[in-house]
């Protein structure tokens, strides 16, 4: 069997031979390569350098999902909510002042500073709207929760409470002082990211998620092995502000990833 590709002028035929001829043929036809190195990605799509399409999609999705600094802001919002627990040793006036100053700053950041910075630095991507099927599924879940949420909660809550009690007893924390949610959250993120073959940027994300698990698990383990550490300010911040710190770290990681993958700045002025 001879394989050929019909071109505009004629049918290209492979010379008889082995695998080398097929590889040469594929090179001659210049099929787009899915796998490319980081250097090739940074190069222009100029017809000579293969372009990594998975990276293109990945970067587009990150920017379109408004991750990055928006997630950092979300994390600070969580920290603000937990301010009482995080800064309990500093006094109430500081907590109220932080809340009073923090909210307008965050609103300004969300509505003006971050969008302006992103447009200038990365450009703008409008994310895809959810498909009809996704909308129907989401609506179905909401309706189910409205009708069956309460009876389900009555059934599930005792099981979760019992599991939580046992877990806290296992780490010598009967008073439930140690916050286990960040460890679970990072573990869930890592597990949900494990799928199929990985590209280099995905390996970096996996390493980052693994580091997150290590950090927040060590918060739990330190409290278990060294009970006195619960009095230290650093431990109390990491423990009470775990959720907020998680989102701050995730947002910073996404932002740094974007900045690395879109490194060039262009001059101000008209965009054409």
């Amino acid at each position: 069997m001879i394989l050929g590709v019909k071109s505009d002028e004629s049918v290209l035929r492979l010379p008889r031979g082995g695998v080398h001829d097929i590889n040469q043929f594929m090179s001659d036809v210049r099929l787009p390569s899915v796998v490319a190195s980081a250097e090739q990605l940074r190069g222009p799509a100029d017809g000579e350098t293969p372009v990594d399409h998975e990276r293109l999609r990945y970067v587009t999705r990150i920017l379109g999902a408004q991750q990055g600094l928006y997630t950092v802001l979300f994390g600070f919002f969580f920290l603000l909510m937990e301010l009482g627990d995080v800064w309990e040793w500093r006094g109430e006036w500081l907590i109220r002042l932080s809340a009073l100053a923090g909210v307008p700053i965050m609103i300004a950041a969300y509505q003006r500073w971050i969008p302006k910075y992103y447009r200038k630095r990365f450009g703008h991507v409008e994310p895809r709207e959810i498909s009809t099927r996704q909308f129907v599924v989401l609506l179905g879940v909401i309706v189910l929760l409205m009708f069956f949420g309460e009876p389900l909660a009555h059934r599930v809550d005792p099981m979760i409470s019992s599991f939580s009690d046992r877990l806290h007893l296992a780490i010598s924390d009967p008073a439930h002082q140690v916050n286990l949610w960040p460890s679970f959250f990072w573990t869930a993120l890592l597990i949900s990211s494990l799928r199929g073959a990985f590209r280099s940027f995905e390996w970096q994300r996996l390493c980052f998620l693994f580091c997150g698990i290590l950090v927040f698990t060590s918060v739990v383990l330190f409290a278990m092995w060294f009970p006195d550490v619960r009095q230290s300010a650093l431990w109390r911040v990491c423990n009470a502000g775990g959720v907020g710190l998680t989102f701050v770290a995730l947002g910073l990681h996404d932002h740094i990833t974007l900045a690395r993958m879109l490194p060039k700045r262009i001059a101000d002025g008209d965009d054409e």
Binding site: M1, G4, V19, P44, A45, V51, L56, P127, R128
Partner: protein, 124 residues
């Protein structure tokens, strides 16, 4: 011996060009993207990107929208319905080509030679 050529499907050459393919791949991952982002992600020069977008618009694959925001021209590009189907068809064709090439490669690779099992010599 004469062999009939097995003709592979032909990718759309308008889409197949790397710069245009990169642009269409980015646009297929979002609802719309502006000129600044397209330039950063494809690393094309402004002129080259403008030319490619013009070609794609003339071919009916993309829709270009220009508006003035804060006294600056903002260009936003999105895929047209034809563009969505063309890029989807393109990737299907490429998957088909890769599949057939993989099969051909397997067919042409040398067969594994299983060493014969020697029967023991009869005792003397």
């Amino acid at each position: 011996m004469n062999e009939e050529p097995n003709i592979l499907p032909s990718p759309n050459r308008l889409v197949h060009e790397p710069a245009r393919l990169a642009i269409l791949t980015v646009l297929s991952s979002c609802a719309a993207a502006d000129f600044v982002f397209l330039q950063k992600i494809t690393q094309l020069s402004k002129g080259n990107l403008s030319v490619q977008l013009t070609n794609l618009e003339q071919a009916g694959l993309v829709v270009i929208r220009k508006e003035i925001v804060d006294k600056k021209m903002r260009t936003t590009v999105s895929l047209s319905k034809r563009g969505i189907s063309e890029i989807a068809d393109y990737w299907k064709v490429m998957d088909e080509i890769r599949g057939q090439m993989a099969q051909e490669k397997k067919r042409r690779s040398p067969e594994r030679v299983v060493p014969p099992v020697l029967s023991p010599e009869p005792a003397r």
